[in-house]
Amino acid sequence: MPNIVACFKWVIDEAYIRKSASGALDFSAVDYKISDYDRNAIEEAARLKGLHGGSVTVLTAGAPETAKGVKDALSRGADQAFFANDASFNQLESSQTAAILGEIIRSRIPYDLIICGEGSSDQYAQQVGPRLAENLGIPCISYVQKLTIGEDGRIMVERRVEEGVEVVEAPLPVLVTVSPEINTPRIPGVKDTLMASKKPVVTIKKEEMQAVGAARLQTIGMTATRMERNCEIFAATPEGIARFVEALQKKGVIS
């Protein structure tokens, strides 16, 4: 019966970000959510528990507001949560997140399988999963779209790769990063949310851990993409179509 750890990030829900006329991003009225693919990670952990038994632990590092995210994650089929909580943890860079999660898992959570989303919906650096595996010294299988645990304690997965699907097998313990095709995350019911508040949460303060190293990347700025539109109408005649093709070529849309 596998002990499964699902990692998640509590991120700004991009639907609430507004764009000012200058292109600057306005975060004044945002709401937060569990990062999209991390919901797939938690769902996969809960699904596997349904099949094989064992336990599901959800794990995150974040600012105190992330407590709501911890409840959200617990309402999705997890048994318990570990929460590295510090006001400075809302701006972690991938290497720092991986170091924090690694330290907590190594010292506090027995595991056979660790599941992460392939990337976060805010920055999508796709770094935390592989770095965490490296930190723990276990194999990492990324972009997993199908996962089964065999009776021999090995996992078989299908990976989405550029031009096809790669089938990989590995002994546990292992870390996988999952892509959205792997499952459809549940919408928690009312009782699931109410029960989540009664599940155990271990909160770990910054002082209880090794000092977090300096960020290896610095975000200098963030602006909205600018989309230019212009409208040109072509007649549905042989000449019009020829001009249309020519216009697309000129813009580099087709070659």
């Binding site: 709401d31 959510k33 407590a67 709501k68 409840k71 959200d72 309402s75 919408i187 928690p188 019911g189 009312v190 009782k191 949310t193 109410l194 989540a196 508040s197």
Partner: protein, 379 residues
């Protein structure tokens, strides 16, 4: 003062938003067009414990509070006011009537499956000649041995054609006046009770409404809800709960009208600019947002009072009155903002405007709410 929802309430609201976006919004046009009861959606609502949020877990509910139920109705109604209403009358009136007045046996037998969402509740009071004037009702229940025999015709029964458990009001002693009406729990399939065909309505079309005919309908004494003669008092308390639900339905309608109006007015270009740049339009949107907030606070306050076990009769009437009239005002404005496009089928605001009208009529007309409120403040 604390205007903050709990983390659970915020998450539950968010989950209902996602549920409505995924399962309700995509079919809202079709179920309106075809006046269809979306049984598949109600099955999913039952699975997520949405059909009995404020009912204790021992009676099949989720064991949460009334405000949480109100948040769910609001979010559901934002996608489809009919679906929101069906849940509202089921929980707010049918389930609450049994929870507040039923015996332990009645709660186990009828409330439990209703709160689990396995059975749908209906409230059967209005008659062809008795709307706001409840005393003009003519349906009777005569005691005969161990059972009551009901005769009469009811109308505008919501969940009439689709209901499983009916809360039926009838005179057991007409001469006793306000203390002469009683309430009976009657399960579907009881001989002598028939539901008519679904009315074709202007709006709220997927909510199923019909006549209910009682012809020598024999109901065991055990199905009397509360005491004989206590029917009207129970009905009024049921309305208090139901009205907060209608107010929540209205908030959902106004929120949808506002969302659509903001989106459209920013996209629609006239005279070289998005129409949102015109003061005439932006002020309509400002009024809409303001009255939406006012309606929301009145409604949440009424639900909060209920959760605090305080009297909320007046506040429920105020919330329902203000929210329903605001819903009508602002859905008309939303159609105006959309111009000709808003007058066509398929535009969400067209459906919202039709759906809004009934909220000023059912579960007590605006006039009836003013009677309740003035009766309270002129005491």
């Amino acid at each position: 003062m604390d205007f903050k929802l709990t983390e659970e309430q915020e998450l539950i609201r968010k989950n209902m938003r996602e549920f409505a976006d995924k399962y309700v919004e995509p079919i809202a046009v079709e179920i309106d067009e075809n006046s269809r009861h979306p049984a598949e959606v109600f099955k999913k609502l039952a699975e997520g414990d949405w059909m009995g949020i404020p009912i204790p877990t021992e009676y099949g509910g989720a064991g949460s509070d009334y405000l949480t139920h109100i948040l769910a109705i609001e979010e559901l109604s934002r996608s489809c006011a009919s679906t929101g209403f069906t849940v509202s009358i089921h929980v707010g009136i049918a389930c609450m009537l049994v929870l507040l007045n039923g015996t332990e046996e009645q709660k186990q037998q009828y409330l439990l499956p209703m709160a689990k969402g396995e059975k749908l509740g209906a409230f059967v009071l209005t008659e062809p000649g008795a709307g706001t004037d409840v005393m003009a009702a003519t349906t009777t229940a005569v005691l005969d041995g161990d059972s009551y025999v009901l005769n009469g015709t009811k109308t505008f029964t919501s969940n009439g054609p689709t209901g499983d458990v009916y809360m039926v009001f009838a005179w057991t002693d007409k001469a006793a006046g306000r203390k002469g009406m009683s309430c009976f729990i009657i399960p579907k399939g009881t001989a002598g009770m028939t539901a008519g065909t679904h009315f074709r309505k202007m709006g709220l079309r997927s909510s199923q409404t019909s006549e209910m005919v009682f012809k020598d309908c024999r109901v065991p004494k055990a199905n009397l809800l509360g005491k004989e003669g206590a029917g009207l008092v129970m009905a009024m308390a049921g309305f208090d709960h139901g009205r907060v639900g209608i107010a929540a339905q209205c908030i959902g309608i106004i929120q949808a009208a506002l969302d659509e109006s903001i989106r459209y007015s920013k996209e629609r270009v006239q005279f070289g600019n998005p129409i949102s740049k015109n003061q005439a339009i932006s002020w309509m949107i400002a009024d809409m947002a303001t009255e939406l907030s006012a309606a929301r606070f009145l409604t949440y306050h009424a639900a909060w009072l209920k959760d605090q076990k305080q009297n909320f009769s007046k506040e429920a009437a105020m919330a329902k009155l203000f929210a329903s009239e605001a819903a009508m005002r602002h859905t008309i404005k939303a159609v105006q903002i959309h111009g000709g496009y808003g007058y066509c089928k398929g535009a969400k605001v067209e459906r919202l405007m039709r759906d809004a009208k009934i909220t000023e009529i059912y579960e007590g007309t605006s006039e009836a709410q003013r009677m309740v409120i003035s009766g309270n403040v002129l005491r």
